[in-house]
Every structure is written in C-alpha cells, then in structure tokens.
C-alpha cells in the first residue's frame, strides 16, 4: 500500500543542511497501525509529510497504492492527497470562522461533491464521532477533545485509505487524549491504515508496529 524506497530529504535551516531523511525504506500494508517515534528533529514529521504528499523526496521512490508519485504533477498529487489521505494535526487546524459541520464539510466542498450528498455524509460522520449536538458550534465553543474529534471527522470525510496523525494528543489532557486515540483506533479497525507520530511511549505502545526515527534514519522497533 505505502512503499518508500531509499528516500532522501534534506533542508537548509539557518545556513546549515539538515538531513531529515536518510535512505528511508519502508513498507506499510493496507490496514496497518504504525507508530512513528523518536526525539524532536529526528525526521518524524518530515516522514509523515512525505507519506502525505505534502513534501517531495530529493531522491528515492514513493509508491502510494501502486502509483509512483514521482511522476505526478502538483495537481495530481493534490488529487491523490484529497482522495487517499486524511490528516490529523496536533493543533487541530480548524478554521475558526466555520462551524464544526462546515469544517468537516470542507474536503467535500473542495472535491466538488453535490451539496445534498455532503450534508448526509457530514451528518453521518458527526454521529459516528458523537458530535451531532455540536454541529453548529464554532471551534472556540468546543473543548480540545471535541475539536480534535471534529478534525478526525474532517480527515475521514473523503473516506481515505490512510490516516496520518501528527501528535494528535499533544494538546489534550489525558482523558481526551485517550478518547481521541480510541477513536483513531476504531477507524483502523474498519480497515483504514493509521500512522501516528508521537513521542509518548504510552500511545506508541498501543500500535501494532513501531518505527523509531533517529537522526533521519528509520529503524523498525519492537
């Protein structure tokens, strides 16, 4: 499903070259549950952005669902991202002026889906995530856990094959954090691949598989 072959990626930060990914090769079959762990600056987020098609490798090959992404135009990558990948961020990234329902609807709007169908899907997603009574609330009227669940609903709106979560519990208290992780795992049980970047061993320990990033190198952990 996801296949990375000898990916290299480096950036210049403040005049110095940082080698964020070195020869990273990785295979993640559909439906897997992977935790990506490691200290900050080790390249975890770069790996996630790479898999999420937000970043391009300097060298190496990346195949998503059998498609070689190197040959895709910017637009092709955007379409693939929209159809196959759902992002969940540490800071939620909800649009403050839109209601919960409108935030969830956003990917469907961008995809040009019929408004009736959109309403039905959004209502369904909000029900799944126990947010039906919060549909008309704006993000500043929601608790942290509720915000993250809205973000998860948004990530699921296009029925993606892969969920990419970057420190999804980083801004949450323990209880809401566990709730969010359980929600994500629930989606994984329905067959969606789940990749979680975290430095919290308690969360990393729940995954089926752990990948440890150290200084741009990825190693399979126990």
């Amino acid at each position: 499903m996801i296949r990375l072959e000898a990916i290299d990626r480096s950036f210049q930060v403040g005049g110095e070259w940082v080698h964020a990914l070195r020869q990273v090769s990785l295979e993640i079959p559909a439906g897997d549950y992977v935790a990506i762990m490691g200290p900050s600056g080790s390249g975890k987020s770069t790996l996630l952005n790479m898999i999420g098609l937000l970043d391009r490798p300097d060298r190496g090959r990346y195949l998503l669902g059998g498609i070689d992404t190197a040959g895709l135009s910017e637009e092709g990558r955007a379409d693939l991202r929209r159809d196959k990948i759902g992002f969940v961020f540490q800071s939620f990234h909800l649009i403050p002026r839109l209601t919960a329902a409108e935030n969830v609807e956003l990917p469907l709007v961008l995809a040009g889906i019929d408004p009736h169908e959109r309403k039905a899907r959004v209502a369904d997603l909000l029900r799944q995530l126990n947010l039906s009574d919060r549909a008309r609330h704006r993000p500043d009227q929601l608790s942290g856990g509720q915000r993250q669940r809205v973000a998860i609903a948004r990530a699921l709106a296009m029925r993606p094959a892969v969920l990419l979560a970057d420190e999804p519990t980083g801004n949450l208290d323990l209880t809401s954090g566990r709730e969010v992780v359980e929600t994500l795992e629930g989606m994984n049980e329905k067959g969606i691949s789940l990749l979680v970047v975290t430095h919290d061993p308690a969360i990393g320990g729940r995954a089926r598989r752990r990948i440890r990033m150290v200084d741009g190198l990825a190693e399979e952990g126990a």
Binding site: L54, E74, R81, D83, H93, R97, L110, G112
Partner: protein, 401 residues
Amino acid sequence: MRTADLFGFGLKALGGARLRTALMLLAMTIGVAAVVMLTALGEGARRYVVESFSDLGTHLLIVLPGRSETTGAAPPIMGETPRDLTLDDALALARGRDVEFVAPLMIGSAPASNGGRQRDLTVIGSTWELLPVRHLRLRQGGFLPKGDADRASPVVVLGEKTLKELFGNQSPLGAWIRLGDRRFRVIGVLEPLGQSVGTDFSDIAIIPVASAQALFNTSSLFRILVQAKGREAIPKAREFILDTIRARHEGEDDVTVIAQDALLSTFDGILRALTYTVGAIAAVSLAVAGILIMNVMLVAVSQRTQEIGLLKALGATQPQVLGLFLAESALLSILGAISGVLVAQGVIWGVARAYPAFPIAAPLWAPIAAVAVAITSGLLFGWLPARRASRLDPVLALAGG
C-alpha cells in the same frame, strides 16, 4: 469545486474579518459612487445646454445680413451691411422645398403706454410663423394672424412681464395700448418660458412685421429665422437660402447663415468629452481602491497562512487556492460596486429633487463602466495576493511560516 461554494467560502472569509471588509467596501463604494456621480453631473450639464438650445428650435437656420468670413464665430451684428434683408427676401425663402417655416424678424424699441402706465418696450415685428419656430406658447388669446405678411394689422401680443407692467391685474385682451405714435389692440399673452438662450420673451411686445416696418419707418429686417423640414434637410435648406439671396441680391453673397444644429452639436461634443474626462479622473479612485484591496488581501494571506496549508493538506490544488482568494477580491469589488451605484443613485435622486431645473442623470454607460472597472481592478490587484497564497509550501504554511 463548485462556483457557488467558491463564493460561499469567500463570503464567510469576508464575514470573518468584518472591519477590514467594511473598510474595503467603503473604498470601493466611494470610487464607484464618484465615477457615477461626476459623470451624472457632466451629463446633467450637457442636457441642460442641449435643452436650452432646443427651446430655440433644433432645425433652425438664422439668416443675418452681412457676410462673415469665419464660420462658427459670433455673427457681425454691427458689421457693414451691403444690402438689407427685406420682407420680400423672407417671402422668397418660404418657397423652398426643404423649408418648413420662415419667420422674418424686426427688433426695435418703442415707448409703450396704457392709460397712465408707461415704459420703453422691446418690440418684435414678425409673422404667425414665429410661434412654431421659437416654440412659443400662449397663455391667453391668440397669436398674430396667419396669412398676408404685408398687412399691417394694429394687433399686439404681450410678454408676461410687459403685461404686468402695463396692466397690473387687469384683463388685457381686447384693450388698446399705444406703441410709439400708433395704437394696437392686445390679442394674446405669451406663456412664460423657462430661461432660454437668446431673447427674453417675457419682456417684449410682438406685432405684425408690416406694422413694425411702419412703426420704425424702415424696411430692413434684423434677421430671418428659417426652420428646415428636418435634421437632414438643414444642408439643403442652407444651400437654398444662399442661392435665393444671391439671386435676389445681384449675385452677391451678403448674408450669413448660422445653423442652430451645428452650434448645438459643438456644445454637445464639448460637454460629452468633459463628462468622459471627469469620469476617467474619478476612475483613478477605483485604481486606488484596487491597490487597497491588494494590500489588505496580502495581509489576509499572511494571517491565514495556516489555513492555506490546511486547504492544501485537504487536497486543494494551486488553481483552487488561487480561485478562493480571487473570489474574495471579486466579491469585495462586486459588493463595493453595487453599493457605490446605489449611493450614487441616492445622491443623484437627492440633487434632482433639490434642483428640479437641473436635469442631472447618470448616463447608462457610467454605472456599467464603473462596475466593470471596479471588478477588473479587484481581480487585477487581487491576483498577486491570490498567487502568493496558491504558491505557499504546504509544510511551511501548516507550521505557520
């Protein structure tokens, strides 16, 4: 992405920054309103002049004794006149095929009296044809009798002011007044006209041209007014007048013919150009409003960097992000333009009510052009911020940089 959603998203984004949106709308409104109002003023001035001239008669040709070499300049009223225009000249002109009416005109001054009331009056000698040629209307009684211009009937038609001065509140019809050493019977009173270019018709007395010849003891006419049968007939009528007078004046071109129409279209052209100029100057404010939109949209792009990163993470393509931000600029300029047109129409309506005599009205092209320029400048100046947004790197944008 659907167009309705594109604009819906833009509307919500504008609603999210109310003060900024209101200020930009204000700038656009002022720009568009300025264009529409100033062109309406220019157009009003043009109509005012055109209407004033129309009171004189639109297909009018004026025949003056004396040759003027320069056309279009002031006619030489006090110039040497080799040969007088006579009533017979006027009657000869009436036979032209392209001529509708001919009104001979004599002007002089005579002391007028009615019992004890006395004053000096401008006396015009003419025929019935003066009525249609100068678009005169009667308030009471009738005008000079139709028919034989050589008959010196002792009748007079008074202007409104003259009437008041000679009769006060008495009824004048049928009464006799004295003009110079002759007595005339009042047969009609003119309706007061609005301020009209040329003679003030409220301060006069009109008598038959033959009576005026006797009163002033001269046979020469001040001028002859000729009304052509239509706008197209004017050049032919002019030709006919010149030919006829030349034939009657032993081959000499000793008259000047002024076409009222030519004068009118000159004024019309000048004022139209003025309107365009004023409109173009006002349009500069639209460009300023456009630059303001660019500024504010650039600020919006840097404030909403994370949102742009998110949109890209959700699968928005570069053209989509570009479209979203352009839609916002377009909405600002469209809404601003609409409110500008409404404000301008309100002001024009107010002015029209306050000064009913001034025919202020925006020409049809003005709001259309103003709105088109507003939208164009909104899109043009919105392009740069929108392109900047669409080109943001999603990873950096999500991180807030």
